[in-house]
C-alpha cells in the first residue's frame, strides 16, 4: 500500500510508452502470443485481435460501489457501461439492511436527537479497533472522513431519504448509524441508479465477465470478455476498468479455501450472485489480494434460511436503546454492544439455536423501526409480541423464570449504569425493559460479508503482486480488502462502497483515453 508518488510516476512513464507506441489498443492489436494472465491455460493467451466495442469506463457490478462510480465517472463526461451478471441490478446492496454509519450529516440527527458526541477520528478509531487493526489507517480515514460528505451527496444529488432516527450499533462508540426511509438498501440503490442513468450510464444486466485482459505485467488493463446469453464479446476499456463486484459469501468452496471454519452448513444473507470470481480474474492478471480469510457472520439473520429480512435488522439497530439478547435458557450471553464477530461466536458457542433479541415498544421508533414493520413482522411470525415478560416467555418457549430474572437484573444494571455481567457501556438513551408491549425476534449467524479482497491504494487503484498500481484498473466496495480488517463494523459497508466507489469513478474518468 501507499508509495503513491513513486507508483504514480511509474504509471505515467508506462502511459507515455504506450502513447509513443500507438496506445494500448494498438499494442494489443499487433501483439501475438502476448501474455494474458486471465487464463487457467498456463497463463498464455492472445489478446483479442479485434474488440467488439470500446467504452471509456467499464464498471463490473451494479451495487452501491458500482453505481457510485458510475455516477461520478459519467458526471465527468465519460461514456460509462455497467456490467451486471445477474438479471436484476443491485447485487447485495439492493437487499442490504439500509444502515449507514456517518459521524455527521447535513441532517444533524445526532444533535437534533440529543445523542452525544461523535467525530471522524472516533469513527476511524472504532473501525480500526473493530477490525483488530488489520485494516489500513489511511483507508479507514478516507472512509470515516468521506462518509458524511457521501451521505450528503446522496441526499442532495440522488434524493436519498433518511428516517428521523440514529442508532448506536455493535462496535460503534457513538450514535452514528443512519437508516434509509425505505428500511432496505433499495432506498439507496434506486436513487443512485436513476442518477447514473440520467447521466447516460448504461446498465447491462445478465452480462457476466468471464475474463480480464492485460497484455503483460507492465501493461494496463485492456478490457474484458463478457458473456451475455450465449454470446461472448470482447469490450476494450479506453480509460479504465472498475471492479465493484462484491464478495464471495455465496460461494461455499471459495469461502472454505480461505477460511475452512466457514462450513457449508452456515446460511448466508447474500444473493446468489456473490460468488467472487472477479477476484480470481483479477489475480490472474497480477492483482494482489489480502485477508481473504476474514469472512463475517451476520449475528442476527433469520435462523431457518439466513435471510436478512426487515426484522433481522432490529437486533442490530436496537442495542443502543437497551435491547438485550438471550439464549434459549433465557440468559444474556454477550455484551450486546459488541462487534458482530463477538456476537456471532458467542451464539455459536452456546450450541443452542436460536437466540432471541428482546425489546419493547418504546425502542421501536428510536431505533429507526416503524409500526408497520412491526405489524408485518408479527404477521409473518418473525416478531412475537406480549404484554408481559412471562407471556413473551410462553409464546417463544423461553423459560419464564430465568427470562424474568434476566430482565429484572438487566433493568437494575441500567439504573446502576453498570453491567457487571458483560461490561456493556450503559448510556442514558437505553430504555429499561419495564413497560410493554414486549417483543422477541429469533436470530442466528449467517455468512454475510467478505472483509478481504483486492489490494487497493488511496486512489482505489488495484495494486499488483509487486506492489505497483495496475494501470487503468480500479476497485471499490466489498471486492476490496484492507478497509475493515478482521471484522467490519455494521453500517460501515455502505459508506465504504459509496466513498470509495466515487473515488474510483472520478479517477477512472480522469485517465487519458487510450489512443
Amino acid at each position: 500500500m501507499g508509495n503513491q508518488d513513486g507508483d504514480g510516476k511509474k504509471s505515467f512513464t508506462r502511459r507515455d510508452f504506450l502513447k509513443a507506441t500507438g496506445g494500448a489498443m494498438a499494442v494489443a492489436g499487433i501483439t501475438t502470443g502476448g501474455l494474458a494472465f486471465a487464463s487457467g491455460k498456463a497463463g498464455t493467451a492472445e489478446l483479442p485481435k479485434k474488440w467488439d466495442e470500446t467504452v471509456d469506463v467499464l464498471i463490473i457490478g451494479s451495487g452501491f460501489a458500482g453505481l457510485s462510480a458510475a455516477c461520478e465517472a459519467s458526471k465527468a463526461g465519460a461514456k460509462v457501461v455497467v456490467l451486471e451478471k445477474m438479471p436484476t441490478y443491485g447485487g447485495n446492496s439492493i437487499i442490504n439492511g439500509g444502515v449507514y454509519a456517518a459521524s455527521d450529516s447535513k441532517l444533524k440527527l445526532r444533535k437534533k436527537l440529543n445523542l452525544g458526541e461523535d467525530s471522524v477520528d472516533l469513527h476511524t478509531e472504532d473501525t480500526l479497533k473493530g477490525g483488530d487493526r488489520y485494516n489500513f489507517p489511511e483507508l479507514v480515514e478516507i472512509l470515516a472522513k468521506g462518509s458524511p460528505e457521501a451521505l450528503n451527496w446522496m441526499i442532495e444529488e440522488a434524493g436519498v431519504e433518511l428516517r428521523d432516527a440514529l442508532t448506536r450499533a455493535g462496535g460503534h462508540s457513538a450514535y452514528r448509524t443512519h437508516t434509509v426511509t425505505a428500511g432496505i438498501g433499495y432506498g439507496f440503490t434506486d436513487p443512485l441508479r436513476k442518477l447514473a442513468e440520467s447521466r447516460g450510464v448504461e446498465i447491462r444486466l445478465g452480462s457476466e465477465v468471464t475474463r480480464i485482459w492485460r497484455k503483460d505485467p507492465e501493461s494496463p488493463v485492456s478490457g474484458v470478455t463478457v458473456k451475455r446469453g450465449r454470446r461472448e464479446s470482447d469490450i476494450a476499456v479506453s480509460r479504465a476498468l472498475v471492479l465493484a463486484s462484491g464478495g464471495f459469501s455465496r460461494d461455499v468452496k471459495m469461502r472454505q479455501m480461505f477460511n475452512p471454519s466457514i462450513v457449508p452448513e452456515f446460511n448466508t444473507t447474500n444473493q446468489p450472485g456473490a460468488t467472487g470470481e472477479m477476484i480470481r480474474f483479477a489475480q490472474a492478471i497480477g492483482a494482489d489480494t489480502l485477508q481473504l480469510n476474514f469472512i463475517q457472520l451476520y449475528p442476527f439473520a433469520e435462523p431457518e434460511t439466513g435471510i436478512l429480512d426487515t426484522p433481522a435488522v432490529y437486533p442490530f439497530n436496537g442495542v443502543g436503546y437497551g435491547m438485550i439478547y438471550v439464549s434459549k435458557e433465557g440468559k444474556r450471553f454477550v455484551n450486546e454492544l459488541e462487534r458482530r464477530d463477538v456476537c456471532s461466536f458467542a451464539q455459536i458457542k452456546l450450541g443452542l439455536k436460536p437466540t432471541y433479541s428482546i425489546f419493547n415498544e418504546a425502542m421501536v421508533l428510536k431505533m429507526g423501526g416503524s409500526a408497520k414493520e412491526v405489524e408485518d413482522g408479527m404477521a409473518k411470525g418473525r416478531f412475537v409480541r406480549a404484554d408481559s415478560i412471562s407471556e413473551l416467555a410462553a409464546k417463544t418457549g423461553l423459560p419464564a423464570g430465568p427470562l424474568q430474572e434476566t430482565v429484572d437484573k438487566y433493568n437494575q444494571y441500567l439504573k446502576d449504569k453498570n453491567d457487571p455481567d458483560f461490561k456493556k457501556p450503559i448510556t442514558d438513551s437505553m430504555i429499561p425493559l419495564q413497560e410493554g408491549p414486549f417483543y422477541a425476534v429469533a436470530q442466528w449467524p449467517a455468512v454475510h460479508h467478505c472483509m478481504g479482497g483486492l489490494r487497493i491504494n488511496k486512489d482505489t487503484q488495484v495494486i499488483d503482486i509487486w506492489g505497483k498500481p495496475i494501470p487503468r484498473f480500479y476497485a471499490a466496495g466489498e471486492v476490496t480488502g484492507g478497509i475493515h480488517g478482521s471484522n467490519r463494523l455494521g453500517s460501515n459497508a455502505i459508506p465504504d462502497c459509496i466513498v470509495f466507489g466515487r473515488i474510483a469513478g472520478t479517477n477512472a474518468a480522469k485517465e487519458k483515453p487510450a489512443a
Partner: protein, 232 residues
Amino acid sequence: MNLKAIFLSAIVGTVVLLVGVSHNVWGEKPEKESICSACHVEYRSLLPALHPSLQKEPVPSCLDCHEPAVSEEPLTNAFSALIHLGHKDSADCLECHTWKEESSFDLPHPGAALGKPSDEDMHWIEKAFDAWADSPYLASLHASHAVTCSGCHGKNLPLMDDTVENERCLACHGPMEKLVERSAPQDFPDRNPHQSHLGEIACTVCHRSHWESEVYCLGCHQNFDMKIPGAK
C-alpha cells in the same frame, strides 16, 4: 376429432388458399407456386367442421379473414399463428421460408422480410420453435392460444439471445397494476412478486418462454411457497 386436430386441419387448408389462389394478396406471384400444393392437393376437407363454408367460387383468401401478423402489434387468431400451428410437427422452417445467411429470412414472396438470422441464430430459432410447438414451457402455452413469434417478438424474427421487453408482455397481460393485484398474496401482501423490494424488473427474470421458468425470489427466500407456470 378433437379441437387441436380441427385447428391443425384448418391451417393446412389455408396454406393452399393462400398460395394456390390468392396471389393478389401479396401483389406478386410466389417464387414457388407449388409450395403448398406439393403436399396438399385438396384443402376443403382439411378445414374444421366449424369453419364457415367455402363453397363459393372463386375461393376467398385466408387473409381476407386472418391477418398476417407481421406487424409490431400482437394479434391472436392471426394467419401466421394458424399456419405455424398447422405445421408444428414439421420443424424445418425452410420448407416454406427462404433464408440467406445474415441477409434475409423471408416468405416465398417479396415484402415480408423477417430479419437476417445467422446460421447460429437459425439453430436457436429452430429450437425456439420446437419449444413453441411442444414443450412444458410458456411458449407452448402461447402457441395453444395461437400467439406466434411476432406476438411476442414483433416484426422481425428474434435472433439468438434476443429478449422480450416488459411492454410487450404487458400489452396482453398488463397493465402492471392488474398483475400486482392478481399476484397479491392473501397472507403477506408485501411478498408480491410483481411489486417486490427489487423494484421494477424484467418479466423474463422469472418467466421464460422457450425454456424453464424460475421463481427468482426462491434464490434467497427458500421457504416461500411460490409457483409459476412453466417452472419445475
